[in-house]
């Protein structure tokens, strides 16, 4: 039972994370391979502040804001690059942020990580806090869901799709392509920061190894499997992938073998992602019927 609650909470965190990536990948066609960086910024900023005695919700707010600002700051130069180079730049940024958290020990304690991150509302850190934290995660995931809905089901969302389909047409129709992309990356990063903060306060211990390329691939997989450019796709994708991942832990895998499983998992996810993009690029809930 507790395990189920735990899995749902993680799935909700990934739902928020996937919703945020979908804004960029699904609606705008921006391949952000460093999205985990904003998740990490949200998690670290909020954790550090609350560990320093700042009220948890205030810490989360600052973390979310910082993540959004970092997104905008990255976007300004990265969006000047065309096509694939945006992906390369974001990939590099993701790795840079991980190294930052790893090396700036005065701030982040480096590889030791940050233990004892408090939960908000006095929610208990142990198993007994699960039901309440589930409520909190559910509430914030819902808020993120409706925020994204409002953004995508609007003239703004339509303009994003115009940019995705044909930038030249977008320009000919008077759309400021750069500004649209900049705003969407800022909002996407902000929501990724929310997911990260939610994650950090839930797990109560974070370290740089929680924020690697693996996590970016995982969230990419959620979006692509579920159905990019759709409202429910990332939700479905996040629940499927997280439940599958937790289910794997119950398989009777020998301990020795377990050590090789983690890297293999990354490879398998990467392979599944490539297969999906080739065979079923629209995902389980396609945006349109072809």
């Amino acid at each position: 039972m507790d395990y189920l609650l735990h899995t749902i909470i993680v799935a909700l965190v990934y739902t928020v994370f996937a919703l945020s990536l979908n804004l960029e990948l699904g609606y705008t066609g921006l391949y952000n391979f460093g999205h985990v960086a904003f998740f990490a910024i949200g998690a670290y900023a909020s954790a550090l502040l609350s560990l320093a005695g700042v009220p948890v919700f205030l810490g989360m707010l600052v973390g979310v804001t910082l993540a959004g600002m970092a997104g905008a700051l990255l976007a300004v130069p990265a969006l000047r690059l065309t096509g694939d180079y945006f992906g390369v730049a974001t990939l590099a940024f993701g790795e840079m942020m991980r190294l930052f958290f790893l090396n700036e020990r005065w701030l982040t304690k480096g590889p030791m990580g940050l233990p004892g991150i408090p939960r908000p509302l006095g929610i208990h850190a142990g198993v007994s806090g699960l039901p309440l934290y589930l409520l909190l995660a559910g509430f914030l995931a819902l808020a993120a869901f409706f925020t994204v809905y409002r953004i995508t089901h609007s003239p703004f969302g339509r303009a994003l799709k115009v940019v995705r389909e044909d930038e030249f047409v977008a320009q000919a129709l008077g759309k400021n392509v750069f500004s649209l992309k900049l705003r969407v990356v800022a909002v996407g990063s902000l929501l990724a920061g929310l997911a990260g903060a939610l994650y950090g306060h839930y797990i109560t211990y974070i370290s740089p190894s929680d924020f690697t390329l693996n996590e970016t691939i995982l969230v990419l997989l959620c979006v692509v499997l579920g159905g990019r450019g759709t409202q429910w796709g990332p939700v479905l994708g996040a629940f499927l992938i997280i439940f599958f991942q937790e289910f794997l832990r119950f398989l009777p895998i020998p301990v020795d073998f377990g050590r090789v499983v983690a890297p293999i998992q990354g490879m398998v996810y990467g392979a599944v992602l490539i297969m999906l993009m080739l065979k079923r690029p629209a995902g389980l809930l396609p945006e349109y019927k072809v």
Binding site: R158, K161, K175, Y288
Partner: protein
């Protein structure tokens, strides 16, 4: 003077695609731009609308210099173009294609979405009504919700024209709107063009179909190998020795 092109030049490597072109569009409703393949017509449109940077010269629109501005800024000033190859947004519906062209939508501002939702909804409703009118005009109303990528080539070209209409332009630059579509649709397109001119929209038209140019245009410019070789009435153009040579000269090579 609505549009003024002054000493405009563009080369690609060693190729002079447009060389020292000067032309002025007064208030003529429809102006034609003709010339053999590769003579630089599309390039000139790209230069006017900011999609290519100029190697030399200037462009003015209703008295303001527009050369050097971004394409989207030029579009917002009222100079809207189509592309030679039909470029609908394939995974948006016909109606969404039209809606996406409306300039200055409140709903494209994030803050308005959250703080002025009623205003955004009201505006969207108005825009949808307008889109439905345009769909009637281009006779695609029954296909309003179809993915535009599924429309026939001719229907896509009509939709593109409809999209330009929705942009509420002062001047439109059409790059071979009738190429590759059947005569029935061409007539429909011509009707739309005439309606547009009645509404005061000026049209600058690249067109290979000479009878159509004669029918529609009050003034025509002829280009050959990057140079502007003629300007005047379509009837004069057909008699002009230079123009005839530009076309026949090419034909001789081809033969």
């Amino acid at each position: 003077m609505m549009l003024k092109v002054e000493n405009v030049t563009k080369s690609f490597g060693g190729l002079m695609a447009v060389f020292d072109v000067n032309l002025e569009l007064g208030y003529t409703p429809i102006t034609g731009l003709v010339g053999p393949n590769g003579s630089g017509k599309t390039t000139l449109f790209h230069l006017i609308t900011g999609f290519y940077s100029l190697d030399g010269g200037r462009v003015y629109f209703s008295g303001k210099e527009i050369s050097g501005l971004s394409p989207y800024v030029i579009s917002r000033m009222g100079v809207v173009r189509t592309f030679q190859q039909s470029r609908v947004l394939p995974f948006l519906s016909a109606r969404e294609n039209l809606l996406s062209a409306v300039p200055g939508q409140k709903g494209e501002q994030l803050a308005s979405l959250f703080f002025k939702p009623r205003r955004v909804r009201r505006e969207e409703k108005q825009n949808r009504d307008r889109a439905d009118e345009v769909l009637e005009l281009i006779r695609l109303a029954p296909l309003a919700d179809a993915l535009s990528g599924r429309l026939s080539y001719g229907q896509q070209k009509l939709l593109e024209l409809g999209r330009v209409l929705m942009a509420g332009p002062k001047m439109i630059l059409l790059d071979e709107p009738t190429a590759g579509i059947n005569p029935t649709l061409i007539r429909r397109l011509v009707d739309v063009l005439k309606t547009l001119t009645l509404q005061g929209v000026q049209i600058f038209l690249i067109e290979h179909n000479m009878p159509l140019v004669v029918e529609l245009c009050d003034q025509v410019f002829v280009m050959d190998s990057g140079n502007l070789i003629f300007s005047g009435s379509p009837a004069e153009a057909m008699r002009d020795p230079g123009v005839i040579e530009a076309y026949l000269g090419k034909a001789d090579h081809a033969a």
